[in-house]
């Protein structure tokens, strides 16, 4: 399967991009930044090609479904979206250091997908409940949102490092100015919130067509709602109570923690969200 080869190559390209971004920041080598961006872009191209190839392969295997149906495939998509969101932020904010805090997530997502023994990269047929166009809408919107939250997490982390009260080291001083980081945390959260909202809604509509209930309080649904509440709190605190900076950054970290738990942690809980069983 060519798509698998392409996607493992993507993993290493993202790894290279992450290494270059981090090295450019840590060793203060601005020269490494452009190659880092280049590697991220090449990785994204390979990721995209791998995604579509896998789609085509599933047709050749007589199944014919978008590669968004299990943990492996969702991680592949997630990694691609993180890099896409990152590249847009990098371009529009004019700060490449952000890559040191977002490219590693894409690398980790793909590395986890390829290396974890619990995750199979085989193309599997869809069980009847997953045969729905709402599945595609649901997974795409959720993971675009999650990717924005992942990059927001990186930016918030930078904010906290940059504004640490204990004498900020030279490394922290090379990070962008706090107002820029605060602004981008907010923009990314707003963007992610819109997509998370759309993701929860498409999931609800799908559940209603498949099982006759739009909301059933299963752990996965509940955790996505918890995540939504956390980010809604952040938006209100910022817009209406005028919170800025540290407190917003901390809420953004908490929010991403909830995202990760919705994504991975729920499998550890009792209950079922059929789609999420690793495999």
């Amino acid at each position: 399967m060519t798509s698998s080869i392409l996607l493992s190559a993507t993993t290493w390209i993202y790894g290279l991009a992450a290494f270059l971004y981090v090295a450019a920041w840590v060793f203060h080598r601005r020269r490494l930044e452009a190659p880092a961006t280049g590697a991220a872009a090449v990785g994204l191209a390979a990721n995209t090609a791998g995604f579509f190839l896998r789609w085509a392969e599933s047709y050749r295997l007589g199944m014919g479904h978008a590669p968004l149906s299990n943990l492996y495939e969702s991680l592949v998509f997630f990694a691609g979206m993180i890099i896409l969101v990152h590249l847009v932020v990098e371009r529009r904010s004019g700060s490449r250091v952000i890559g040191a805090f977002s490219a590693p997530f894409a690398f980790l997502a793909l590395a986890y997908a390829s290396l974890s023994p619990n995750i199979s990269d085989r193309i599997q047929p869809l069980i009847p409940a997953l045969k729905s166009n709402w599945l595609i809408a649901h997974v795409v919107t959720c993971f675009v949102g999650y990717a924005a939250f992942a990059v927001a997490f990186g930016v918030s982390l930078m904010y906290l490092l940059r504004t640490r009260r204990a004498a900020p080291g030279r490394l922290a001083a090379r990070l962008p100015e706090p107002p820029l980081l605060d602004e981008w945390t907010h923009r990314l959260v707003v963007f992610g919130f819109l997509f998370l909202t759309a993701g929860i809604i498409t999931g609800a509509v799908w559940a209603n067509t498949a099982w006759g209930r739009y909301w059933g309080w299963d752990p996965k649904e509940t955790w996505s709602l918890i995540t939504w509440f956390v980010y809604a709190t952040l938006l209100h605190a910022r817009l209406v109570s005028g919170w800025r900076g540290r407190r917003i950054a901390v809420l953004s970290l908490v929010g991403f923690g909830a995202v990760l738990f919705t994504y991975f942690g729920v499998n550890l809980l009792p209950g079922l969200h059929s789609y999420q069983s690793p495999g």
Partner: protein, 457 residues
């Protein structure tokens, strides 16, 4: 009344209008929701006793933690959020009414003096000529222009765009209320039930999930057939029930349903949810003549009659008999029929499925055996009525539109001051917005550039 002491009513009102309450409620809802994901919900008491012990079980049950999303305290939190939302929105809408409805007079030029996003340049034309020159462009780029003179003999032009976007946040908040309302309607006026229908059979009552009560539908459902297909790996690929809806015995609708493709009739929706297998009702029987050794086979279902060749008599398949026994010994699932021989009394024939040679013991002219039982399925249907769904879906649409508008649209106001300066004018362009202010300076710059091009400077 003491003016410095607010009345209880207004104190309550202010409390409910406060955003601090919102933040507390949202975080409380998030935190308590976690509990319900850690404790499995709606399990049998015995399961909980096994996990938490008797004391733990009673303690958690007193707090309704085994069905916490429907508990009184969780519903009170949700209700408080709804009241918070209504009061807060009512308060803000009434305060901002003139602005939201577009009834405010254009602001004074002074309002644009201190704003950050501004540009100033000089032009050779006089203010009146410039105003006429600029008006069409500003109307195109921003919106309707209102002009007036200034005390210093100049002109002031004002235009705004996206005032309607201020409604976006109320759309979001209204949509949350719609979702809650839809949920309430569903739980008050809807039901959630299930029924298993063996192939070929018709039912009119279903069982409710929460109470186990049986209710009668205003129509009957017949399952004509159920099919399950599998992938080569053995995983199921499709469940399909061929359903017929009957009203007073008359067929009114016939349709297949699949897992993601339910059927809706008279506000009741029927979903494919599971299936089961039943011992079949159709069999292939073999009739072996003792004289000639000839074997005749025939597919029959209960009620069918077969005239056996060679004048061996007539066989009627009567019924299926689960867990039959013969002279006190169990022989498993069986069929029974009646054989009417040409002479003599009719005899009852027992045909156990597991023992095809059983009928030899009867020592008749013909030996009857079950060759094959057709597999028979029953379809498991989820039968729901939820009149709240349209309200919830309206809430979904409103929420998405509202979020998009609040996040990505803003209310912009542009003030353009044209003052006599030398022989020409001094132009100051300023812009304000209710959000995304970082986007303003470049927008001002772009507009200023276009204006300068108009007056050739």
């Amino acid at each position: 009344m003491n003016a410095s002491r607010p009345s209880l009513g207004s104190a309550l009102w202010d409390g409910f209008a406060s955003l601090r309450l919102t933040i507390v409620l949202l975080l409380l809802l998030a935190a308590t929701s976690i509990l319900g994901t850690l404790i499995p919900q709606n399990e049998a008491p015995a399961t909980y006793r096994a996990i938490f012990g008797d004391t733990g079980y009673r303690f958690f049950r007193a707090l309704d933690l085994f069905d916490m999303y429907h508990s009184w305290w969780f519903q009170i939190l949700v209700l408080l959020l709804a009241v918070n939302l209504i009061v807060c929105s009512a308060e803000r809408i009434s305060r901002q009414w003139a602005l939201l409805a577009g009834k405010l007079p254009p602001p004074e030029p002074r309002r644009f003096e201190g704003v950050e996003a501004r540009m100033t340049f000089e032009a050779p034309q006089d203010p009146a000529a410039l105003a006429a020159l600029f008006e069409p462009l500003i109307r195109r780029r921003v919106g309707r222009v209102e002009g007036r003179g200034t005390e210093t003999g100049g002109r002031f032009l004002f235009a705004e765009s996206g005032r309607w976007s201020r409604w976006g946040v109320y759309a979001v908040h209204g949509s949350v209320l719609l979702l809650l309302l839809g949920g309430l309607i569903g739980s008050r006026f809807g039901f959630d039930g299930f029924v298993n229908i063996p192939e070929g059979e018709t039912v009119q009552t279903i069982q409710l999930r929460n109470t186990g009560e049986r209710i009668r539908l205003p129509f009957a459902i017949r399952c004509e057939s159920f099919q399950v297909s599998f992938y080569p790996s053995g995983a199921p690929s499709e469940f399909r029930s061929r359903l017929v809806i009957l009203e007073e015995g008359r067929e009114v609708l016939r349709r297949d349903i699949l897992v993601n493709d339910p059927l809706e009739y008279r506000g009741i929706t029927i979903y494919q949810s599971s299936y089961g297998t039943l011992p079949g009702r159709e069999v292939r029987l073999s009739f072996t003549s003792r004289d000639t050794g000839m074997v005749y086979t025939r597919e029959m279902k209960p009620g069918d009659e077969f005239a056996i060749p060679e004048g061996l008599g007539t066989f009627v398949l009567l019924d299926q008999r689960p867990n039959a026994s013969f002279r006190g010994s169990p022989v498993g699932d069986a069929f029974v029929g009646r054989l009417v021989p040409p002479q003599g009394e009719p005899v009852e024939v027992l045909l156990p499925i597991r023992f095809p040679t059983f009928d030899r013991m009867r020592r008749g002219e013909v030996v009857i055996a079950v060759e094959e039982v057709k597999q028979r399925y029953s379809t498991g249907l989820q039968v729901n009525r939820d009149p709240g769904v349209p309200v919830v879906y309206a809430g979904f649409v409103l929420m998405l539109i509202g979020c998009y508008v609040t996040f990505f649209r803003s209310h912009r106001q542009v003030g353009l001051r044209l003052e006599p300066h030398g022989g020409g004018s001094r132009v100051s362009l300023a812009m304000t917005a209710n959000k995304n202010r970082l986007a303003l300076p470049p927008a001002v710059e772009r507009l200023a550039q276009e204006l300068r091009r108009l007056c050739n400077v």
